[in-house]
């Protein structure tokens, strides 16, 4: 047991590195740590949103709906987290090779790895899950028993999710006979697991939205609650958890809790049986097969091609980003997931929207809505928020690690390298803009294409400003001394600057929307374009002027 705890401790520390959120000497939170503030902002944001939602639901007399929404969102959040990290934790982490020569039993290693995964999920629960549920208790004036059950439920909740995904992973690894390319395989597993979850999610939502309703608002909420409960059927642990928290002191709560425990015990048993048979063999096979691959003969002339410095540099940036699965999954994947989820949700919701639009009153109201500055502002805010998800530019220097000095050794102007390093982020954001504006064009064809084109141009400037500013942040606060790729993104407290800039720009856009409210839409769009173009040019000139100073932390 002691061994398992020590191993878990080492693995968790190795994964998170030193975040310095808590000052052990002073025994209080380290307010100098950017992470402290990052968590504080997220904490505050979640508290605010939860407060608004719960108050609204209490006012309409349907507070229980919150629990349905809460557990569904928490399940999704934890599931995606498990999927993104489990392959790495169980099979591809660098610590495995260091631990294998030690006298540790496979079961101990398996348990320590599961504990590591659970620790991460508990940290996520602590940040995202604890406050909303406690707030629900406070705002609905429930008895003290609620908080007792809350702790128990949160402690038990992630276990089944973790063991289910990991068991799937263990099975996939068993059937994957040849792991020629570890990176591609890791990515493939993640994609397979995400597709599985998305499929279940789609099935669940199809069930929800296929039921027709034309009732009034309150009744709609009530039926919505029932529909979300149907979603819970697809995830065994949701409904018993809700049942415990809604039937606090009667027998249903205890029965539901034991149901929950039963599911978990079964899940853990299956995980252990499969893990015991396969885990160690598959780790060893993975390590051996990785070094045992056959070499392809090379023909140099066919593998070389003359490219300009810029093109070659950008190509290298893309390769380095895409070929490292951790960087890809942390920097690019979240944007893809969000875009795909939004598209899927819209596709599911289209029949519902069409049905709603058949109602004459609603149709008249929709047609009466004008396309004004505030709508432009809303679209740009959505784009700005989406631009803030990816950390490609924010980690462009840190990802290089100790090799970053290469930037300074080669005969290419630092300003040009700054531009090249921004290209992947700019392209990803351009795709986001095109997808979002394309969807708007498809679903709201009444908006003239010229307006959408002008919004696209404005979004290009916002995109450039975002990418440039984030790269400046990374240049001024680079994390070059890292051991594991995970720590580049996880340890990067620079994310705080991305959120701060997002808030500033959202406020700026809201202000612009307000002052241009009554102005002609074309003048509004052109003015916004000029404003953001000027901001961009100022930043660009500044970078060119102070390029040497900007790169002076890359040593």
């Amino acid at each position: 047991m002691k061994k398992i705890i020590s191993l878990t401790n080492v693995f968790v520390k190795e994964f998170y590195q030193n975040l310095a959120i808590f000052d052990k000497e002073k025994k209080k939170f380290n307010k100098k740590s950017m992470f402290f503030w990052l968590i504080a902002i997220v904490f505050f944001g979640i508290t605010y949103v939860s407060y608004e939602v719960i108050t609204f639901l209490v006012n309409v007399g349907q507070p229980e709906i919150f629990l349905n929404l809460y557990f569904f969102i928490l399940t999704m959040l934890l599931l995606f987290q498990v999927i993104l990290v489990c392959a790495n934790i169980f099979f591809f982490a660098k610590d495995i090779e260091k631990v294998l020569p030690m006298p540790i039993k496979p079961v101990e290693l398996l348990l320590a790895k599961l504990n590591t995964l659970l620790c991460m999920l508990y940290i996520s629960e602590g940040i995202f899950g604890l406050v909303p549920l406690t707030l629900y208790g406070l705002l609905t004036n429930v008895s003290f028993v609620f908080y007792f059950w809350e702790i128990l439920i949160l402690a038990v909740f992630p276990i089944l999710l973790a063991v289910t995904v990991t068991t799937f992973l263990l099975i996939i690894m068993r059937f994957a006979k040849f792991i020629r390319n570890k990176d591609v395989f890791q990515l493939l597993i993640t994609v397979i697991l995400i597709i599985m979850v998305c499929f279940i999610e789609m099935q669940a939502f199809n069930g929800v939205f296929s039921i027709e309703t034309n009732d009034q608002a309150l009744e709609q909420f009530s039926s919505f609650s029932q529909k979300v409960e149907q979603v819970g059927k697809y995830f065994l642990i949701i409904n018993p958890s809700i049942a415990v928290l809604t039937n606090l002191s009667n027998a249903t709560a205890i029965v539901s809790f034991f149901k929950l425990i039963f599911y978990n015990v079964v899940g853990v048993c299956i995980f252990f049986i499969i893990g015991k048979i396969t885990y160690l063999k598959d780790i060893l096979r993975n390590i051996v097969s990785y070094t045992d691959k056959k070499r392809k003969k090379i023909q140099v002339e066919k593998n070389t091609k003359y490219l300009s410095k810029g093109k070659s540099y950008v190509k290298k940036e893309f390769k380095m980003l895409i070929r490292e699965p951790i960087f890809f999954m942390q920097c690019v994947f979240p944007v893809i997931i969000i875009l795909v989820t939004v598209i899927l949700l819209i596709l599911v919701l289209v029949p519902v929207i069409e049905q709603v639009m058949q109602d004459e009153t609603i149709r008249n109201t929709m047609e009466g809505l004008s396309f004004n500055a505030e709508v432009v502002c809303d679209i740009l805010i959505v784009l700005q928020v989406l631009f803030s998800i990816s950390s490609i530019s924010l980690t462009a220097i840190s990802r290089e690690g100790k090799n970053a000095t290469f930037i300074k050794c080669i005969p290419i102007e630092l300003y040009k390298q700054f531009l090249y390093k921004n290209v992947p982020q700019i392209i990803l954001n351009l795709i986001v803009s095109v997808v979002v504006l394309g969807m708007i064009w498809y679903f709201v064809p009444t908006i003239p294409v010229l307006y959408l084109f002008l919004i696209f141009i404005i979004s290009v400037f916002i995109n450039l400003i975002n990418s440039y500013l984030m790269l400046i942040v990374d240049l001024r606060r680079p994390n070059l001394d890292w051991d594991t790729e995970y720590s580049v993104v996880k340890k990067s407290d620079n994310k705080l600057f991305q959120y701060v800039w997002m808030i500033i720009n959202v406020l700026l856009l809201m202000y612009i929307g307000k002052i241009f409210k009554d102005v002609d839409i074309l003048i509004n769009l052109i003015s916004e374009m000029i404003i953001f173009a000027i901001i961009f040019i100022i930043i660009d000139r500044g970078i060119k002027k102070w390029q040497k100073k900007l790169f002076n932390k890359v040593i």
Binding site: R295, V300, E301, N403, F406
Partner: protein, 245 residues
């Protein structure tokens, strides 16, 4: 030719890690840069290659200032760093092709040189593999090949022989000799005094950020101790400097 003129550097105000260094590495010369750990070797090399800013003084590479005209100066340098773990996700051939693009080497020339050099260093067969699958020595070799690819006049090598197998070390030493013979400059740092003894035309010893000796081994023997090995001379000269401080 590399000229280091009155160069100083401090990381903290008032604490100079490099104190007014003057050096000249002439064409046709192999210059060995020696010194204990933390003496300032890497800092000096980082300033020579443009990685670190220079606080005072200047460094000229073939007459081009690394401060005023860094791009032109860098074109004249081939630098092998002490960390060979570079671009691990690229295949060997992709890395060499990228370097060839950066230095604008024509396709015919790059193809010929890649084949020649990789065969010479015994890494031709692994060019299609990702660098992350290479051993430490092989990574070191591909970095050396990438530097030789654009045939720079001035080589700056930071601990270049660490991790190399005897055959590759032999080839590299021969390359260094040949490069100097072709009237180019070779500057390298090392901890292995036997290599410096056999290879260098001139030696520089840095200690506590100050250049305490520059000259040939003969000059050092005359100054310090007759018939002594480089190891003995090095120990003696650093000991004296320690006592003087």
């Amino acid at each position: 030719m590399i000229e280091i003129k009155n160069v100083s550097k401090s990381y903290k105000k008032g604490e100079k890690v490099i104190n007014n260094i003057n050096l000249e590495i002439k064409d046709g010369e192999i210059f060995g840069f020696l010194g204990p750990n933390g003496a300032g070797k890497t800092t000096t090399i980082k300033m020579m290659t443009g990685i670190l800013d220079i606080d005072e003084g200047d460094i000229l590479v073939d007459g081009k200032s690394i401060v005023e005209n860094p791009i032109e100066a860098k074109k004249q340098i081939g630098f092998v760093s002490d960390n060979p773990d570079m671009f691990l996700k690229l295949k060997g051939i992709e890395y060499l092709n990228f370097i060839a693009d950066i230095y604008e080497i024509k396709k015919e020339i790059r193809d010929k040189r890649i084949v020649e050099l990789t065969k010479e260093f015994g890494i031709y067969e692994v060019l299609n593999d990702k660098i992350q699958s290479y051993s430490h020595g092989m990574r070191q070799k591909i970095i050396i090949v990438s530097v030789l690819l654009h045939n720079p006049k001035n080589w700056i090598l930071d601990e270049p022989l660490t991790g190399l197998d005897p055959e590759a070390a032999f080839h590299l030493k021969n390359k260094m000799k040949q490069h100097a013979k072709d009237n180019n400059a070779v500057f390298f740092s090392t901890h292995i005094l036997e290599i410096a003894e056999k290879l260098c035309d001139k030696i520089g010893i840095i200690h506590h950020g100050k250049l305490i000796f520059v000259g040939t081994q003969e000059e050092m023997r005359k100054k310090v101790k007759e018939n002594a090995s480089l190891e003995e001379l090095f120990m003696e000269i650093t000991k004296r400097n320690e006592e003087n401080n």
